[in-house]
């Protein structure tokens, strides 16, 4: 048997053997840096923008997760927040903004209008931005609670860390109607059971 020698980091990087310990660690480091420094492009069109402002405010703060800076130019942004309804007339604009962003880029569909068209089913609105651009995280809600938005942001950060590009949605943690012990919501429940 010959001499066994593990490849050095330099060799691994040069020859492209991405399975080495150093490169996976390097990729992990890169993903860590990316997920905690997301520069967002808030593509805000409608009422979800109000909730976006709430999420940006001090109570529910997205900057404590690293996603602090809004950059209103696609050249400097890597996370496209599509906030609000996208109408057919706005679709080319959205597509162009997405195309102008540089890789790596992620898209977050904020609200049901951006996810599936919302309650609109008409000639004017696009039924979900994924008909135009690929989306990574969907946050349903009309508008979604800021906590749900932060859930979506954290979900996206997990996806960035693991390198998983499959789209994910933010589901409610629990169904308040199904948990009567919570005492939160009683929807037309008769007193007589």
């Amino acid at each position: 048997m010959g001499e066994l020698k593990a490849p050095t980091t330099q060799e691994v990087l040069e020859t492209g053997q991405g399975q080495g310990f150093a490169t996976t660690k390097f990729e992990d480091l890169l993903a860590w840096a990316q997920k905690y420094s997301l520069f967002m492009y808030p593509f805000v069109t409608a009422c979800c923008g109000m909730e976006f402002m709430s999420v940006s405010g001090p109570r529910f703060d997205h900057s404590r997760f690293g996603a602090e800076v809004p950059r209103f130019t696609p050249r400097q942004a890597d996370l496209l927040w599509v906030v609000g309804t996208i109408v057919q007339r706005q679709a080319p604009v959205l597509k162009r903004i997405y195309e102008q962003m540089a890789e790596p880029k992620w898209v977050l569909a904020f609200g049901t209008c951006a996810s599936v068209g919302g309650f609109y089913d008409n000639y004017a609105c696009v039924a979900g931005i994924d008909k135009i651009i690929p989306a990574d995280v969907y946050i349903p809600g009309c508008p979604p609670r800021p906590e749900a938005v932060l859930d979506g942001l954290l979900l996206l950060q997990d996806k960035i860390q693991s390198g998983d590009r499959r789209p994910g949605i933010v589901k409610p943690r629990f169904d308040p109607v199904a948990r009567p012990d919570m005492g939160v919501v009683q929807l037309r429940r008769s007193k007589h059971g």
């Binding site: 057919q88 996810s115 008909k131 969907y138």
Partner: protein, 190 residues
Amino acid sequence: MAKALLQLIQLEFPDAVLETHSQHGDDTVVVDPGAWKAVARFCKEQLAMEMLADLTCVDWPHREPRFDVVAHLHSLSKGQRLRLKARVGDAEGEHAAIDSLTELWASANWAEREAWDMFGVVFTDHPDLRRILTYPEFVGHALRKDYPADRIQPLVPYREVENIEKLPPFDHHEGMSFGRQTHLASRGDD
């Protein structure tokens, strides 16, 4: 209170006023479309209607003339409101032409553009009659009753993805269980 206005208009334009009615505090005058601008000018100058609050259109598809052009006038100095109506258009929605009120009130400009975009009513002498809510490539007039509710005209071609109608995250059977799948006969599936 504005019923006196109805009488004044009837006195001034005896053959142009087709009907008037007054209910729940609203006063309405239905005029002949040929006298639309003259009546509006009278309202603005003699009846002190400084403001055109809204100008819109109603589609009555089983009636001829088909469209009701409705203008809401408001007198700021006297606190009175008036509604003017005129009936235009044939059964196919063609030849629906009426005078533009842009010369009298500047707010008529965009309101008439919207009525043109949504119904196809032509406002003669409008300075810039083009679509305002939809886009130039849009074919048809969207708020007419015979425009199909499920027709969309995308500006950007949809992505080439399998099962585009229901992309992730929702399954084919998730989502709306009511709505257009149930009340439109044109959809054969589901």
